[in-house]
């Protein structure tokens, strides 16, 4: 039996009819065509599918769409509020060369957002801990850590008005 769910994704309200077996990842990517969120391992190990649900990062591959009924979801497409100017986290990842193939980047940036919204001035080890649920197989962690420091500075100086 299909369920009708109401979700707000990046500020837009949607009513969608979903099978109980539909994951949040499938809802976002296939029903809403927001393909910035990736699907990696499908078992909650790699973090490529990370999105925010009610302000907390979750693995969208392990979340059922029926369980996000009534919730607020932010995906990588919603990180930059205007949709034109980049969010400081995105700017920092570019500035610091923290992107190689880019597959892990949306998940990394959502985890960075979760960290910086709780801890605006993290240490190296706090950043590594906060990103430990996200794997980069190009092994670019050092530049990613640099990028999060840089994003923290940008957000503190209010250089760009951030999303969340």
């Amino acid at each position: 039996m299909k369920h009708t769910i109401h979700v707000t994704v990046n500020g837009t309200d949607y009513s969608v009819s979903v099978d109980p077996g539909r994951t949040l990842n499938e809802l976002i990517r296939e029903d809403l065509n927001l393909t910035g969120t990736k699907l990696g391992c499908g078992t909650g190990d790699c973090g490529a599918c990370t999105v925010m649900v009610d302000g907390r990062t979750v693995s969208s591959c392990l979340t059922l769409a029926v369980d996000v009924d009534g919730k607020q979801i932010t995906t990588i497409e919603g990180l930059a509020v205007s949709g034109e100017e980049l969010h400081p986290i995105q700017e920092a990842f570019i500035d610091k060369g923290a992107i190689q193939c880019g597959f892990c980047t949306p998940g990394m940036e959502m985890s960075a957002l979760h960290l910086l919204s709780h801890n605006p001035n993290p240490t190296d080890s706090e950043i590594r801990n906060a990103l430990s649920g996200n794997l980069c197989r190009c092994t670019g962690y050092t530049k990613i850590v640099d990028a999060v420091h840089c994003a923290a500075e940008k957000m503190a100086s209010g250089k760009t008005e951030g999303g969340l």
Partner: protein, 290 residues
Amino acid sequence: MSIGKFEHFKPRTLGDAVELLNKYGPGARVIAGGTDLMVKMRLRAVSPEVLVSLKNIPDLDTITVDPKQGLTIGATALLADVAAHPGIRKYFPAVAAAANDTANIQVRNMGTVVGNLCNASPSADNAPTLLVMGATVHIIGAKGKRELPLADFFKGPGLTALAPGEIVTAVSVPPPPPNTGVVYLSFSGRGKLDCSTVGVGALITLDAGTCKTVRVAIGACAPTPMRAPGAEKLLTGNAVDETLLRSASRKAAEETKPIDDLRASAAYRLKVVEVITYRVLTEACGIARQ
């Protein structure tokens, strides 16, 4: 790969949840955070016909902390919320630390402490601490409510003492006695993030430098999280010194029955469990002396 076809129910009361489980029988499974069940479904290790979600039952995520009455963690309380709870961190710090050592941030934002127990993995990070603290599992079923010591809950990998149609509603622990240290340490290949290769919890109550009460529980080294009674016996009633702690750690390792698997060989686990047990016992004694 899809996670399969099933019906999904979101009951608003525990009574309705129990009724649904009994109506649909063995094809029905309880789901809370789903971080273990969804993986098993994706791998086709289980293929439930019906999922009964506990997440819409009001107040089932309640955490109550009282230094005199103890700690109760509701079935849908998130690992992240247990790890960050100021009262748990103050009065039951090892419980918060074990929750924080479970998986990664995303999984802790979805998964629950009670779910970690119900999944009954031998490596369940929350089991050793709760075992040494003498936790009680609160259960509801068609015949009403019952309580079970956590020590009697684990029956094998993925197996618990739950009867068909029963739901764990909470886990509770009494406050530790004065002069007590409780510590949990785990070790795994990817920091503390993937399933633990070895996890050890210990509770030590000291009386003028002598071990009054000792409990040691070890994860990922037997078909269920296990106690180490031989090590406990070596320590109980004796004055703590390094030699005694080293002997007890060796004894604890001898009591385990580890296997070779993808995370470590049995031989490696035997070495690591001895080292981790020594660290845990030393740290617990240090806290007990404060």
